[in-house]
């Protein structure tokens, strides 16, 4: 059986049969893992045709409390240290795959949109981070629209972190600022978990220069 270097590397990481894998002599169990690996790669490349993917590893469900395998992957066009994750589980004898890559495609737009509307309402924004809890299958994700996600029309489990310049808050009335921020986001129909941090100034370190933090949920 012909295996690519990538396949050999990943399979050797999840089974004890490194010698057989090197020689392409796979047992049935390893063949099943290989088939799933190829299916995950094909799924990603078909769904996101502008990108090339490399499967870098797998954490099979065996020995965990999960009912799905986790496939670690990276997109060659994206410089990111941490791996992306696709989930694969068998439902009625069919492999069902879901991924988190859509978040990478809309993150920039989503961040920009939040920053723009907050700035328009007078907030002094240091930085914004947006993440998504949901994993989507091949029915959703490839041409996803950031606005639809932010407003909850596509429920992606939004997690929005807003870092504001605390030096602009008079008398350290952070509570009041958070209330104003909540009203502002509601006005634009933003949905998700909102985490607000006031930094000592606009260039403050996100970790070391915190003055105050709070969170609320917009449903």
């Amino acid at each position: 059986m012909e295996l690519s270097a990538e396949e050999k590397k990943v399979l050797s990481g999840v089974t004890f049969h490194s010698e057989e894998i090197e020689n392409g002599e796979l047992c049935d169990e390893d063949k099943a893992i290989l088939e799933n690996m190829r299916a995950v790669k094909k799924y990603l490349e078909e769904k996101y045709s502008k990108y090339q993917f490399e499967i870098t590893g797998c954490e099979p469900k065996e020995g965990t409390a999960r009912d799905y395998d986790e496939w670690y992957y990276k997109a060659l066009e994206i410089d990111r240290d941490s791996a992306f994750i696709a989930r694969a589980s068998e439902v009625d004898g069919k492999l069902v795959i879901q991924d988190d890559f859509y978040g990478e495609l809309i993150r920039k737009d989503a961040k920009e949109e939040i920053r723009k509307l907050l700035t328009a309402d007078g907030f002094s924004v240091a930085t914004v981070n947006v993440n998504f809890w949901e994993y989507f299958g091949d029915d959703c994700g490839q041409d996803i629209d950031a606005s639809k996600v932010l407003t909850g029309k596509i429920p992606a489990g939004n997690d929005i972190k807003i870092f504001l310049d605390g030096s602009k808050v008079t008398g350290e009335a952070f509570d009041g600022e958070v209330t104003k921020l909540e009203k502002c986001l509601k006005k634009y129909d933003i949905k998700g978990d909102i985490y607000v941090v006031f930094l000592k100034d606009a260039n403050g370190d996100l970790v070391r220069d915190r003055l105050y933090s709070d969170s609320f949920e917009l449903e």
Binding site: E59, Y72, A83, S215
Partner: protein, 476 residues
């Protein structure tokens, strides 16, 4: 050591690393989405939806929803721990994955805390056992590379920690990188003789920074040579997973009436673990580094099957041509070792009891397995043995298991043949200290031959009795 964290806080952080899907995806601690939040934010978020956490469901191996809630409630009043910020979460992307970790920051002391999650899936045992034949392992190198990529600017203290394989990674980083101030390895395995020898100077220099926090009956820390100070703690041993539970990250947590968590120091390592530790070291030393890969894979396979309680697969491993030779080596070694150190039998009995096995037959098994001639006789007469067992009304499940795995009889013959060549007292079972890195771990003392001779005489006598017994039972 200058960490601002208490040992209780270190252990709680290590438990947080395993929190996954508690009440939904937001209940996963090691997610990049938690970055910039504090531990308190995470804990409050999960506890707000505590009703969605199912009490008796296992959310990570051996730890239920109710136990996780207890852990989170104990963190809630701890302001120091609550204010720690989750700075970065990392999913290993190189070298076949395998590893999740977090870079935390304690603003009260400017302390960076780099925490590594331990083995979770069966697949990670491949790397766990690769420490037997690789220096360093791929996952150790990945962890070091990620650690060295982190921005520690403005940090006054750098602390690394981790449970299980995560503990091993944190020790590895402390040995290899001078920047680490403190290392708290929680039930982490050790390093091979070859690693100790190759890195003796670094180990001597950095080992004072390492504290091993160990559950008294943990069975992972006993793998290979430990580095640093060891402190043992009492285990709660709830018993759901039996023996396997001794390695769960919550095994050392005790909670008082107010819900506060505390650790209780133990007098020392559990005796049966100490015995196993010495035996394993001695067994591993009986192999050259260059031929250990197969042994490691066989060991890994057996551990994974044992964890899953899959006796059929363990039997398959014994008869699999890839592993049968090294598995026979291991079993022959254990049996000969047991013969030389009979106190091992008590340890095995206790471990089996903890797993709910009936140990009534252990005395007979112990006797038979002390004599390779009897073993060989059994192995060469599979049909007769199964007939005898049936006639003696041995449990149907046992007989049917043996009928399904008649290869095991050939395996027994192989074991008995190997028993004759093995001398379990040839290699020391003590941990190799870096200061003694040049020490030869083989023991050159003259072997006591009288015991062996006595064993042969006994075996011959028993053989005759057994033969008579077999004939009587078969032809009754």
């Amino acid at each position: 050591m200058n960490s601002s964290l208490s040992l209780e806080e270190i252990v709680l952080i290590n438990n947080l690393l395993y929190c996954e899907n508690l009440g939904g995806p937001k209940g996963t601690f090691l997610s990049p989405i938690q970055e910039s939040k504090t531990i308190g934010d995470y804990v409050n978020g999960v506890l707000r939806k505590a009703a969605d956490i199912v009490d008796d469901e296992e959310y990570s191996t051996g730890v239920t929803g109710a136990e996780y809630k207890e852990i989170l409630w104990s963190i809630k009043p701890n302001e120091h721990l609550r204010n720690i910020i989750i700075r970065e979460v990392h999913y290993e992307s190189e070298g076949a994955g395998g590893g999740r970790s977090a870079y935390l920051f304690d603003p009260s002391s400017n302390e960076a805390i780099v925490a590594f999650k331990g083995t979770q899936s069966d697949a990670e045992w491949i790397d766990n056992v690769s420490g037997l034949y690789q220096v360093p392992t791929q996952f150790q190198e990945n962890a070091l590379k990620w650690f060295q990529s982190l921005d520690f600017e403005g940090c006054d203290i750098i602390t690394v920690t981790g449970h299980s394989k995560g503990g091993n990674k944190s020790k590895y980083i402390t040995i290899m990188d001078e920047h680490v101030d403190n290392c708290f390895s929680f039930d982490g395995q050790g390093f091979s003789d070859e690693f100790i020898k190759r890195n003796a100077t670094r180990i001597v220099k950095n080992k004072s920074k390492i504290l091993n926090i160990i559950a008294e009956s943990d069975f992972v820390n006993i793998l290979l040579n430990d580095v640093g100070t060891r402190q043992f703690y009492l285990g709660t041993n709830f018993g759901r997973l039996g023996f396997a539970e001794n390695h769960c990250a919550n095994a050392v947590l005790f909670f008082d009436n107010t819900g506060a968590m505390c650790l209780w120091k133990a007098k020392g390592q559990d005796k049966k673990m100490k015995d196993l530790d010495v035996m394993l070291n001695s067994f591993i030393r009986s192999y050259e580094m260059s031929v250990r890969e197969n042994v490691a894979n066989m060991l890994g396979n057996i551990i994974v099957c044992a964890k899953a309680g899959d006796a059929d697969k363990i039997a398959d491993t014994f008869s699999d041509e890839r592993y049968s030779d090294s598995a026979a080596d291991l079993l022959a070694y254990v049996l000969r070792y047991k013969e030389e150190k009979p106190e091992m039998v008590a340890s095995v009995r206790e471990i089996l009891k903890q797993n709910g096995f009936n140990t009534g037959m252990l005395g007979v098994i112990d006797f038979i397995t002390n004599h390779d001639i009897i073993l060989e006789l059994i192995g060469k007469n599979k049909k007769a043995m199964i007939t005898i067992l049936k006639k003696r009304h041995v449990k149907e499940a046992t007989v049917s298991f043996l009928e399904r795995h008649t290869d095991l009889f050939d395996f027994i013959v192989l074991v008995s043949q190997k028993m004759r060549k093995i001398d379990p007292r040839r290699y020391s079972g003590s941990d190799l200290e870096a200061e003694d890195a040049e020490k030869d771990m083989s023991i050159h003392e003259k072997l006591g031959i009288s015991r062996r001779k006595l064993s042969f005489i006994m075996a011959a006598a028993v053989l005759i009795i057994m033969l008579i017994l077999v004939l009587v039972l078969v032809f009754k």
